[in-house]
Symmetry: C2
Subunit: 256 residues, 2 copies
């Protein structure tokens, strides 16, 4: 498993993904799960993957091949660098995911491996606002509503309460990045399937070029400070809250 997250706030977008990949506990390694499709000044799209790594890579490989492929004159566009809208981009990812499924799912099924792979596609194309799409294993997809400032794939439950509690669409972009890292902190602590380093991207709205990209490992000074100070603050806040007073400690059996 793995964990991927995208946040949409008024100032722009945050993308984050861990790098843990494992096929059984004896084969744990790191893989890049964030991919960028950029034409500076015109578009910047990010794709995050979660699920079976071979399927993720098969989809990304085909998406990359389409960037330079020659299409027949009237064939629909399949390059994420040429899709007219982000919606059309999500359609391309969904179609290619279905092609991969047709090729791979029967062999996987023979080995009881589920066709399990999801994507978040997001970014901005000139003339459009920033947009986020969640693409499911069957290739269908939804656009993330404006009222929902975040979308997650993979091991998403551990890091969801912190996003629900702290994030709104008016959160500044760098504060949203901080919130994303705390969400990853929760997932990292509670699930061995989520591992460092974290790839984090901050895309300021209307910049239309690849935003700040940072690979955050266990030794990243900002993340280290953030984790330890957050842990201390949680413990302090917990201690400051009153314990319930209605718990009876005396041994009733003796009191009778």
């Amino acid at each position: 498993m793995s964990y991927g997250l995208a946040i949409k706030v008024e100032e722009g977008l945050i993308f984050a993904a861990d790098s843990r990949t494992n096929a059984g506990l004896d084969e744990v390694s790191a893989a890049r799960k964030v991919h960028v499709f950029e034409r500076p000044g015109e578009r910047c799209l990010y794709l995050i993957a979660s699920g079976n790594l071979s399927l993720c890579q098969a989809v990304v490989q085909r998406l990359n091949a389409e960037l330079t492929a020659k299409r027949p004159a009237k064939a629909p566009e399949r390059s994420l660098l040429k899709a007219e809208t982000l919606y059309a981009g999500a359609e391309i990812v969904g179609q290619i995911l279905r092609e991969v499924e047709r090729g791979e799912a029967p062999a996987l099924a023979r080995h009881n491996v589920t066709f399990d792979v999801s994507f978040i596609l997001g970014g901005q194309i000139k003339g459009e606002r920033t947009r986020l799409f969640l693409i499911y294993p069957p290739g269908n997809f939804i656009e993330v509503a404006d009222e929902t400032p975040h979308v997650q794939i993979g091991e998403r439950k551990y890091g969801k309460p912190i996003l629900d509690a702290l994030l709104t669409s008016r959160t500044p972009l760098s504060t949203a990045a901080k919130c994303a890292l705390l969400s990853f902190d929760a997932a990292l602590r509670s699930n061995v399937g989520v591992g460092m380093p974290i790839d984090l991207i901050a895309y300021p709205k209307d910049s239309l070029v690849a935003g700040t990209t940072r690979k955050i490992g266990a030794d990243d000074p900002y993340f280290r400070t953030l984790r330890s100070r957050w842990g201390e603050a949680l413990t302090r806040a917990f201690q400051d809250l009153p314990d319930p007073e209605w718990i009876v400690y005396r041994l009733k059996s003796k009191a009778r």
Copy 2:
């Protein structure tokens, strides 16, 4: 879905379960998921269920029937009020779960309903320490190790980071109850499948009688104070942490 939690600290045990049950979104109601098996001064066992409510109830119904059933002279004991150890109690629950599976699973399978039900059995029998067992859908089970102060069933991921961060086996019993409620707060906020009221039980070690039981609804004054003060403290702690300084905000495309 639902959420059940048991905590084992040096001072005793905490059990907690929500009351949400739903068979489709149009049939949401409340059901009691905590059951006590007590012989004051000799034993006190608690059983928490999660999963398909009809299966949970079928198991509990059979367990209750066994309390008064007459066993053939040499038949193994099947009453939770007579099992010699908590391990033997977990075996009884596992066996009865398997009987229910044999009866119910074929019909459920015809309707594509998974045989999905888990239990936590815990408490204390005179002469034994406090013990917790996690019983899986196939009826197999594990004892929770002393180093692990908590065990969860159902929608457990949302509320796990808070337990991992704040709980040790030396946490006082009433503080552990507070931690349990914050774990439920996270699950309640992030998942509609978890609903109030929460049944919370605090069993002080060696008391050997049913401990403090409290049904905590949305209007419970302690829980209301806890939730609001915890939310405020999280927000304050989050604001106090520095934002990352490495995010570039300027529009690079214009700077070129």
